[in-house]
């Protein structure tokens, strides 16, 4: 079931949920969700759009005057390693992960208009992919699939 990505949803809930999960997960794993990391994660969750590293840097600076590229990249590295965010290769951008605890094979649908990213489990696709990889005798390390196009909302003409 897709989530509602556009304006109408209670986004504060999204954010709170994501941050709470992140805190619990880090605690459980014995890794530090430090202030900077927490701030970066919160910034990423400000919306459901893919966000660039230098954009995050700009947004981080008011909170953290000394912020430099390395500051952001290190936080991003950590968040990725913990599965809390995804890196979108085809955009050099980042997006909060909705399922940090579960599997990590997802389908990312990236809208070229609103830039929102929908994350789907897409079980059937992943099954077919596993099968194909088996046939190819290829051992995959990660199976993120990034698809660019136009999302439901942007495709639908503004309601009459």
């Amino acid at each position: 079931m897709p989530i509602s990505t556009h304006a109408e949803h209670d986004h504060q809930k999204c954010v709170n949920h994501a941050l709470t999960i992140a805190e619990h997960l880090c605690l459980k794993r014995g890794v530090q969700l430090t202030l900077i990391r927490h701030q970066v994660l919160a910034l990423i969750w400000e919306n459901h759009k893919a966000v660039k590293a230098y954009e995050l840097l700009e947004r981080l600076k008011p909170l953290k005057n000394a912020a430099k590229p390395a500051t952001v990249y290190r936080a991003l590295d950590f968040l990725i390693a913990q599965g809390l965010i995804h890196r979108i290769e085809s955009l050099n951008a980042f997006i909060g992960c909705r399922c940090s605890e579960h599997q990590h094979e997802q389908l990312l649908l990236i809208c070229k208009y609103c830039h929102e990213v929908e994350e789907r489990t897409a079980t059937n696709v992943m099954l077919a992919l596993s099968d194909e990889l088996k046939q190819a005798s290829f051992v995959a390390h990660s199976k993120a699939i990034e698809i660019h196009g136009i999302c439901r909302t942007c495709a639908t003409p503004p309601k009459a």
Copy 2:
């Protein structure tokens, strides 16, 4: 059926085939496969590994003394637009396309050891993907899937 990517195949055949196809295709489409574009395409086809833009630039310089970044990037843009090569987003690199004439939904298997890239049609995966996109009401523009891992050859211990 996967192609043989490693050393044992007659690579000159690959190259000639790719260049011939490219020439015909450009002729048919009324676009110019100029000297520079042809040279860049040939360089990309020197092997089946993903190649970076600045690496191409270095290799192009002996042939074309004035070569600058823009020289290479323009040629790459053209080749991509004509479907003669693929851009591998997750590597910022490029690879020759084996099926310039046909469909453009492919599965790219990228080996982290030998860096060779195998291109597969993966019909079942693409069907499952189309289905999933339909469910999501998402209109995709391109459906390249990049999977990183270890290829058959690199996974197989050197023959006893």
